[in-house]
């Protein structure tokens, strides 16, 4: 049984978050998002000519996303470069952003997004997606909505929000991890993965809980994106 969380949080409570935009001067847009001990940095370049040429689409632009865990981000050294897990996460981030960014405005061009995880403590794909969407908004890309992503799940018998690595590895009763990404103002799900075992009713509860958490992240994203310009006008 899992009655109290390891870090004494409530079951529907997020870890402390912080975010910031415009951190990489050479990129068109950039953002850093941190939730608990998980931190991701995203940079957006482009739109530019499509390389390799055969990926080009005549009626809309494409997104090239690269997710990478830096060697020092995990206790055991992560091998630099893309492995199979990185490629899968790059794909799910691309799919989620395909829905969020209005690509029809850039026919035959490519937007490059690079996401680096500098610290990993579970929920890296959600943090990466949140950071990437903030970087896209910072770059001035036309978007339907920002993406807010959070992991929810089941540990033992209790449903929890925003799992840590310690909780993901919980053995008694097993742990289920469900990363979810929303377009909050559209009420659309753009990413839903499941690793573990849950019933239908539990999954519905998990998605509901994820939605509440994602809305909190969405509020933070909005205030950070706006805040950069509010501060500039004061100084």
């Amino acid at each position: 049984m899992y009655e109290e969380r390891f870090d004494k949080r409530g079951f529907d409570e997020l870890r402390p978050m912080e975010a910031e935009t415009g951190i990489i001067p050479n990129a068109k847009g950039s953002a850093r998002f941190r939730i608990g001990n998980t931190e991701a940095i995203a940079a957006v370049y482009g739109p530019e000519e499509v390389k390799p040429k055969h990926f080009e689409k005549v009626d809309k632009g494409i997104i090239m996303c690269k997710y990478d865990m830096l060697p020092f981000s995990v206790p055991d050294r992560a091998k630099p470069g893309m492995d199979r897990r990185d490629m899968e996460i790059s794909d799910v981030i691309t799919n989620a952003l395909n829905r969020a960014i209005i690509l029809e405005e850039f026919p035959r061009s490519m937007i490059t997004i690079r996401v680096y995880v500098t610290q990993a403590d579970a929920g890296t794909r959600c943090a990466s997606l949140t950071a990437a969407s903030m970087a896209c908004a910072d770059a001035g890309l036309p978007m339907r909505d920002l993406v807010a992503a959070v992991a929810a799940g089941k540990i033992g018998d209790s449903i929890c929000l925003d799992l840590t690595k310690e909780e993901e590895d919980f053995h008694e009763g097993g742990a289920t991890d469900v990363p979810i990404a929303f377009l909050p103002s559209k009420n659309e799900i753009v990413l839903l993965q499941l690793d573990g075992k849950v019933t239908k009713e539990e999954l519905k509860k998990i998605v509901e809980m994820g939605k509440v958490g994602a809305n909190k992240i969405y509020e933070l994203e909005k205030s950070v994106l706006k805040g950069r310009f509010l501060n500039e006008s004061k100084s």
Binding site: V58, F106, R108, S185
Partner: protein, 223 residues
Amino acid sequence: MEIKNYEIVTPGMLVSDSGNGGEGTYSEGSNVFSKFLGTVQNYNGRVSVSPMTSIYMPMEGDNVIGRIVEVSTKYWVVDIDAPYYTRLDSRDVNFRAELGELDKYLQLGDLIYARLFRIYANNSADISMRGSNYGKLDSNMISKINISRIPRLIGKEGAMINMIKEMTGCEILVGQNGVVWVNGQDDGKTAALAAVKFIDENHANQNLMESVRGLLENVRRKV
């Protein structure tokens, strides 16, 4: 629903529910949402959003500053800071160009001031240097500014740019693709570029004119 003028909005935010959306918005039914991170303008109920940072997409008739990146036998290839390179044909220049030795006139890395005169369906564009106000730019000193901040750099009826020109004694040329070219004395050029950078960073500032004047006076005293 009423939204205030000059309020900052983020992508996906509802800006109007009466279905009258202008530039920078998209609508679903009668709801109008913002496309960009930007500020709202409301003209008699027509709501538009102008982005804080924007990406240059070529438009026909734009006057741009570009750099030669390739010399072919019949044309030059020019980088104008857009997603695609553009082509400058040897017939579209304001001097007589002999085919086959085009690098006599414009070499790799030269800066030119030209006009975009044709956009193709595949996003590529042709530029032209016909006309007396276009041509090769001598100095190689350029700076880049986000195109949504060009109005701040120009100022009301050119007030800002004229002030910078006067105080630094430089020639300044602003391309609609966000490239700013300066020419003049060395210290003047440095000061002008510093002013351009300052405007790019502090574009949301209220008394921008005064702070730029202060900056230029300060720089001048040091040089």
